[in-house]
């Protein structure tokens, strides 16, 4: 049990670390008062600006500001978005479901495609099916996602008219963005599955199983696959970050109303409260996903174990 507690504490520390970085982003550009007021400051007297600074609390030492930032953030209060005229956290939480939806579909898609392909390749090493899927996987890692997106759009949206080109609302809207987002993880997971499977196929216990006359199908599924999924489970946790934060481009191309697009826009307009809220929320989700995966991992892998 102590492992679980330690692991949870680590996640908390990490989210705090992210909050420090996110907090100081506001100060990197200079005086936050000036950033927020913009040229509105021109219409104010020096005294009014000073009053605003005090009102916002920017006159206090940084550690007190950070403490109050954390104190408020814990209650979901990240300040007020001055471009959206809404609480910053609300701006993010409203867009979060769309991002999570896209990321999880892409995630499932990547597993559904990459693992069977990886298995097929490993079972038929150096046969055409292996060569082709390895090549396609490598290609998937080599094409910038926005180019792939536009090509998909031209084919399935404009030429074949099978899928809506952009926006959200129906499951069809999800198909192309999910494929484009999944392309990279598909490639990586397929290669990982393949090499991990190949490795295990050479192991003694597999040879023994074969020698016992167990069918090749059973050998592959119950002996090799189960063991070789471990490295993939590790990779999956890191993929959560890629899928959540890396969807910015896909969201922009497909007009998908996600949190990545919102944060990009907020960065451009220096709406730092939204950026902070977004970054910390994403980090929190990332931490939780990885926590769950690590706990699951330790449960699967007896070497780590809860008891130790």
């Amino acid at each position: 049990m102590s492992y679980v507690i330690r692991r949870v504490l680590q996640s908390v520390v990490v989210v705090f670390g992210v909050s420090i970085v996110a907090f100081f982003m506001l100060f990197m550009t200079g005086d936050p008062t000036e950033i927020i007021l913009g040229d509105g400051a021109d219409h104010m007297t020096v005294q009014q600006i000073e009053e605003f600074r005090v009102k916002m609390g920017f006159d206090r030492p940084w550690y007190i500001q950070y403490a109050s930032f954390v104190g408020n953030a814990v209650h979901g209060d990240f300040g007020y978005s001055f471009t959206r005229h809404q609480p910053a956290f609300q701006v993010i939480t409203e867009k979060m479901p769309a991002t999570i939806q896209l990321a999880s579909i892409a995630f499932v898609l990547s597993l559904l495609i990459s693992i069977p392909l990886g298995v097929l390749s490993a079972v038929n090493p150096h046969k055409p099916i292996d060569r082709i899927s390895t090549f396609v996987a490598l290609l998937g890692q080599s094409i910038p996602s926005f180019w792939l997106s536009i090509l998909l759009m031209l084919l399935f949206g404009v030429k074949l008219k099978w899928l809506p080109i952009s926006g959200s609302g129906t499951w069809q809207h999800l198909v192309m963005p999910a494929i484009a987002l999944a392309a990279f993880p598909i490639a990586r997971n397929m290669r990982l599955t393949r090499s991990s499977m190949l490795d295990f196929m050479q192991k003694d216990f597999v040879r023994t199983a074969r020698a016992k006359g167990i069918s090749e199908y059973r050998v592959v599924t119950s002996h090799v696959l189960r063991n070789s999924l471990l490295p993939i489970v590790t990779a999956i946790g890191l993929e959560a970050g890629f899928l959540l934060g890396g969807s910015v481009i896909i969201e922009t191309i497909f007009g998908w109303p996600g949190v990545g697009r919102e944060i990009v826009q907020a960065i451009g307009s220096k709406d730092f409260y939204v950026v902070q809220a977004g970054v910390i929320t994403l980090a929190l989700i990332f931490a939780v996903v990885n926590l769950i995966i690590d706990l699951a991992y330790s449960w699967i892998d007896p070497r780590i174990g809860f008891g130790s």
Binding site: G17, M25, L238
Partner: protein, 306 residues
């Protein structure tokens, strides 16, 4: 985040001492046995040559806007043309820009890898060797870095610093060090109690000498392999950031900006994007294949983690 408390996996094998000469011959003969790796090396040699000899290879000035000559199709589809691969929307020669683009792409890929490699190896060495508190702190920093979506971090930094080639390299370098840190850490952990290290320690060697002279030479393989994969992903990242408008400035020819700027013309004037797209894909493909091969050559046991 996931491998934090798992036992370090035994992936490191001290390199068997061999003379440099035989090692090189071995490498070459093994390389030539793999068709894919050989082709990849040839492709990469061409790209490197293009980058080095760009001013002599380019038929036209890649920076010169010639509005009269804009959007000319490639020579083979238009016999009167003088531009082998056509021109872009400002009348610049696509071929020359692709050739010069190799410079930018390789510069970005390699320099960023150098930055993240140095940071990652240092952190990994210290973390793995000293363990305990040092390790805890460094690994949490690793986790914080991983929790920050790279593209968003890059956008934020570039929104503050402004855009430009140097900033792009810095951003990709500063955000890409985690894989090195983690792999080096686990390698160091697995060999720090090996005899040759213990012997050096018993002989009263200074800590930094043990780290850099005894341990470091034995953990190069995974660093090189990660480095090759990261060069590839940096080239793709450059294109992605160009799409978001924070890549290199639009006048500088890079494959990423060419692809991003020509995207409206896909299906209309495909010659704007296809050369850059093919260049990126081929180069990245070649680097990845070579990376795979290097991994298998240097240390097949790395397969399951890289």
């Amino acid at each position: 985040m996931s491998s934090i408390d798992t036992e370090p996996k035994d992936v490191g094998v001290p390199v068997v001492p061999a003379t440099l000469h035989t090692k090189r011959r071995q490498l070459l003969s093994r390389l030539l046995k793999s068709k894919a790796a050989t082709i990849s090396v040839i492709i990469l040699l061409i790209v490197v040559m293009a980058a080095v000899a760009a001013p002599w290879l380019s038929p036209h000035d890649p920076f010169a806007n010639k509005l009269i000559q804009r959007l000319k199709p490639p020579m083979f589809s238009n016999s009167s043309g003088i531009y082998l691969l056509g021109t872009d929307s400002l009348g610049r020669d696509i071929l020359s820009r692709v050739i010069y683009g190799a410079r930018v792409s390789l510069t970005v890929g390699v320099s960023a890898v150098a930055i993240s490699g140095v940071i990652g190896v240092l952190i990994g060495l210290l973390s793995g060797y000293f363990g305990g508190k040092v390790d805890d702190v460094f690994m949490r920093i690793c986790d914080v870095q991983l929790s920050f979506p790279t593209i968003l971090l890059a956008l934020t930094i570039m929104a503050v610093l402004g855009s430009g080639l140097d900033k792009l390299i810095l951003v990709l370098g500063l955000t890409g060090w985690v894989p090195y840190g983690r792999i080096v850490r686990s390698q160091v952990m697995s060999i720090k109690n090996d005899e040759f290290v213990l012997a050096a320690r018993a002989a009263g060697e200074r800590q930094w000498r043990i780290l850099f002279q005894q341990i470091l030479p034995n953990i190069w393989s995974p660093v090189i392999v990660i480095g090759s994969f990261t060069i590839a992903s940096n080239i793709v990242s450059e294109a992605s950031l160009s799409f978001l408008g924070v890549g290199v400035p639009p006048s500088i020819p890079s494959w990423g900006t060419m692809l991003a700027d020509g995207r409206e013309y896909i299906g209309v004037a495909d010659w704007l994007t296809i050369p850059a797209g093919v260049a990126i894909s081929l180069t990245v493909l070649a680097i990845n294949i070579l990376g795979d091969w290097l991994r298998d050559y240097l240390d097949p046991r790395l397969k399951n983690i890289l």
